[in-house]
């Protein structure tokens, strides 16, 4: 039953898509109750799932989905008004369909689960809308299931594979075939070698009367139901008849073909229709009912003098449920499209990708080594060849890293449902707006960011947005808005969770922090620092504890998760206007473009994305900078850190120091270094546990010469520089230079 398993997988995938569509459309409907397109989309989804499930014989799904579909049909016809209550029930129904499909597709045996209690509950709820007695509806559904099951029309491997998994071969030999020295017997014998002839009918209708019959002519034809050996394709069967291909008419119908193919065959062949039909019925290819109906319909059409395509006859004659035919056809389309789409994608084991990226990393290091040697050799062609290699290696690196990039949109879209459900739960009217959904980031980062994001969104919903009454009092729109935004900024991806709620109350936070003993005096805290208190363990400002948040766990976990990804989180908030929580994450976790500098005898790498510019220190600046740790850069205060001090190394004598201006999260700072060495492709190697506590470094890399260079942790350094400076400035009350106020 390998085919069945595959079929189940494709059924599962198809349903996933449909259910997603259904959910999206329902959410759309919620905002726009008259949206007919959305209603139709929901109906279509339910309808297709029902039809497909029927073909597979998943009765429980059909039973349940039928009720959903009936409800939607009423809505579609305008007999039932769509309300948010109904939408809520339909959303739960979608979840239930998902669960049912899960159960059915996960089970290996083909026995099907019973409608469970949850289905019954939901059916009862839907029936309230339909105004029907649940019992009646269930029995109606059962009837419909029978109707769906009878025709069994599909190209998909069927549950009933034994009778459908066969080829049908129809062959009529030309009269001259025997005289040409060929004998049908040998072809049939040959056919037996590539499979099993389940049934064969010898057709002798073209026998003339006994007097004119030429015994050296062939008047025979055969209808064969054939079970091919594995891996036998249509060409293989055609090949059997290769030698007589000009002396016979051959028709091969593949396994699991649509019934109309057989009916077509019946009409195509020269013999009387009924007789051929009987043969097909006898070989269990089609049922007698299907045959009778199709033939009768055809005759009627002939009488009325106008002939319709057989597919239409099948639909119109009523034995075949129109919806099922449509569903089957639509399904074929979807499957075909999916197959076409799948050709553009290859599933790759993530570890293979990681191995590739590791190798590329090694390649980058090795390349740097050979480039170094080439440079020393002063051999022009060698240097040039190395440059070309370097360029290619760089491209390979970018491409390899790109393989891991995915759009964040999918993660964002999940929140539509969350926002909807949560806002219903807590009695608020909240909309979600999404921007920057096509921003790409590393797959592993996407996976790890989903949970923290969920927490932040829930927080915004619960704490951020006020109750409608409160909002109206504040002269705000009754509807709250939560926005998710993503964009790239200097080598990082920034994800923002924005709400237009009540904002953070600095005083309340301070009060709380004091009462919790997190803080002992509040004199010198900047706004940022106060806001960051909410990330402290055990901190919660929510006056009431809801089931969503307010239990004092969460924000600290969010912060830890984000920091584990080498990201940072900061908060911007204005009281009564709203808050923005901004997560900054590095784009990749493996290889970066670095900027190599020398301090003392060692090399350091600064991530190039964060470098703004390099400035040479003038003598004057050097003198003045001995006393304080900032310079004036084109009239702006630039706090800086001397890396010689930071890492406690001796400054190389007689070398004029330079400042590398770096930027992170909107804040600039200078790093004073001895020497600028230029760009360098950096493969990030994690540091051992021993270095975990060392601040200011984030990793190490290997230079072409084999030396180890430390990668500077720019966010940490910027933070330090700014903090030192902030205290100076705080004291001087030069508010305009405070680089902490970001907006």
């Amino acid at each position: 039953m390998e085919d069945m398993a595959l079929a189940k997988i494709s059924f599962r995938n198809e349903c996933n898509e449909l259910l997603q569509d259904m959910e999206a459309s329902l959410l759309q409907l919620e905002n726009d109750l008259d949206n007919e397109d959305a209603i139709n989309a929901v109906f279509r989804a339910a309808h297709t799932i029902k039809g497909t499930a029927g073909i597979f014989g998943f009765d429980d799904i059909v039973e349940f989905t039928h009720v959903v579909e009936s409800t939607l049909d009423q809505v579609r016809n305008g007999r039932l008004k769509i309300t948010s209550n109904l939408i809520a029930v339909l959303l739960s129904s979608g979840d239930q369909m998902n669960d049912l499909i899960d159960i059915v597709t996960a089970s290996d045996d083909e026995s099907f689960i019973c409608i469970d209690q949850k289905s019954q509950d939901l059916i009862a709820k839907l029936n309230v809308f339909l105004g029907k007695d649940p019992e009646i509806l269930v029995s109606e559904t059962k009837q419909q299931i029978e109707e769906i099951r009878v025709p069994e029309i599909t190209d998909m491997p069927n549950a009933d594979i034994s009778t459908k998994d066969n080829w049908h071969i129809s062959v009529r030999f030309d009269k001259e075939v025997l005289r040409h020295g060929m004998d049908p017997i040998s072809f049939l014998r040959y056919l037996k070698k590539i499979g099993e002839m389940l049934s064969i009918s010898t057709i002798h209708d073209s026998f003339p009367d006994s007097k004119t019959m030429d015994p050296e002519c062939c008047y025979l034809g055969f209808e064969v139901t054939f079970h091919a050996n594995p891996d036998i394709k249509k060409e293989d069967i055609e090949e059997v008849f290769e030698f007589v291909k000009d002396d016979c008419s051959l028709k091969i119908i593949p396994p699991n073909s649509h019934i109309s193919k057989y009916i077509e065959l019946i009409f195509d062949l020269p013999e009387e229709e009924m007789k051929l039909g009987e043969i097909l019925v006898a070989s269990e290819v089609i049922t007698r009912k299907e045959l009778n109906d199709a033939l009768q319909a055809q005759r009627q059409e002939e009488v009325s003098g106008f002939i319709k395509p057989l597919g239409e006859i099948l639909i119109e004659d009523g034995t075949t449920d129109k919806s099922v035919v449509k569903a089957a056809i639509k399904k074929q389309d979807v499957v075909r499209k999916k197959q076409a789409a799948e050709k553009h994608f290859i599933r790759v084991d993530a570890t293979k990708l990681d191995n590739l990226i590791n190798l590329v990393g090694e390649l980058v290091i090795a390349n740097a080594g050979s480039y170094l040697i080439a440079q020393k050799s002063n051999h022009e062609p060698l240097i040039e060849a190395n440059l070309t290699t370097s360029r290619l290696v760089e491209e390979i690196r970018d491409n390899a890293l790109n393989l891991r990039m995915v759009q964040i949109g999918e993660t964002f879209n999940r929140f539509h449902r969350v926002v909807r459900d949560v806002s219903k739960d807590i009695g608020k009217d909240i909309k979600l707006s999404i921007t920057g959904a096509d921003t790409e980031l590393d797959k592993t980062v996407v996976e790890k960011i989903a949970d923290p994001l969920m927490h932040l969104v829930r927080n915004a919903l619960d704490h951020g947005i006020e109750k409608p009454a409160e909002r109206l009092e504040q002269r705000k729109s009754e509807f709250g808005t939560v926005s998710l935004n993503a964009y790239h900024e200097s080598g990082s991806i920034v994800i923002e969770v924005i709400d237009d709620g009540r904002g953070l109350d600095k005083n309340k936070i301070l009060e709380k922090a004091m009462s919790k003993g997190l803080l002992h005096n509040n004199h010198s805290l900047t706004e940022q620092e106060i806001f960051r208190l909410i990330f402290e363990p055990g901190f919660s400002t929510a006056a009431e504890v809801t089931n969503l948040s307010g239990r004092g766990v969460g924000m600290d976990v969010v912060k830890k998760n984000i920091e584990a990804l080498r990201g940072i989180v900061d908060i911007e908030s204005t009281l009564a206007e709203g808050s923005t929580i901004r997560i900054r994450l590095p784009l990749t976790l493996a290889i970066i473009d670095g900027f190599l500098v020398n301090v003392g005898n060692a090399s350091y790498v600064i991530p190039l994305d964060m470098v703004v510019e390099c400035v040479e220190l003038t003598d004057e600046q050097i003198d003045s900078s001995q006393t304080h740790d900032y310079i004036s850069l084109r009239g702006e205060v630039l706090p800086f850190i001397r890396l010689t001090d930071m890492f406690n190394v001796t400054h190389k004598a007689k070398i004029r120091e330079s400042i590398v201006v770096v930027q992170y999260a909107g804040q600039k700072a200078g790093l004073v270094v001895d020497e600028l060495l230029g760009e360098f492709q950096t493969v990030i190697k994690p540091l051992g546990d021993l270095f975990q506590q060392v601040r200011g470094i984030s990793g190490a890399t290997i230079l072409g010469s084999g030396e180890v260079a430390v990668i500077l942790d720019v966010p940490e350094l910027v933070n330090q520089a700014v903090n030192i400076e902030a205290h100076h400035i705080h004291n001087l009350s030069i508010q305009k230079f405070n680089p902490l106020i970001v907006h």
Partner: protein, 105 residues
């Protein structure tokens, strides 16, 4: 091919010896139809048939059809295994409607 006939007023018994192929088809057709015309029942012993091909089986089929048409009887008996194989391959057992006894050879 050699036909050994034994007939009385309304029944003719024929034993066919040798091959029943396209080379014998003409002769076979003439012989069988002629006998069928003269007798009410035609009984053909197939035990001595060696090779039979499509042409051969066609003649037997024609004779069977002719017998049905004229309200006479054709019986094939004692099929040799060569005959049996083709009859089964073509699924003609029902068509000839003869009791088939698998002969020992």
């Amino acid at each position: 091919m050699e036909l050994i006939k034994k007939s009385d007023a309304d029944k003719c018994q024929i034993t066919i010896h040798g091959d029943l192929t396209i080379y014998q088809a003409h002769e076979l057709k003439e012989e069988l139809l002629a006998e069928l015309e003269q007798h009410q029942t035609l009984e053909i012993n197939m035990s001595e048939v060696n090779e039979i091909d499509t042409a051969g089986i066609q003649v037997l089929m024609l004779t069977k059809l002719e017998s049905s048409r004229t309200g006479k009887r054709l019986r094939l008996i004692a099929h040799s295994r060569y005959v049996l194989e083709v009859v089964e391959l073509f699924n003609l057992t029902d068509f000839f409607d003869d009791p088939i006894i698998v002969s020992s050879n």
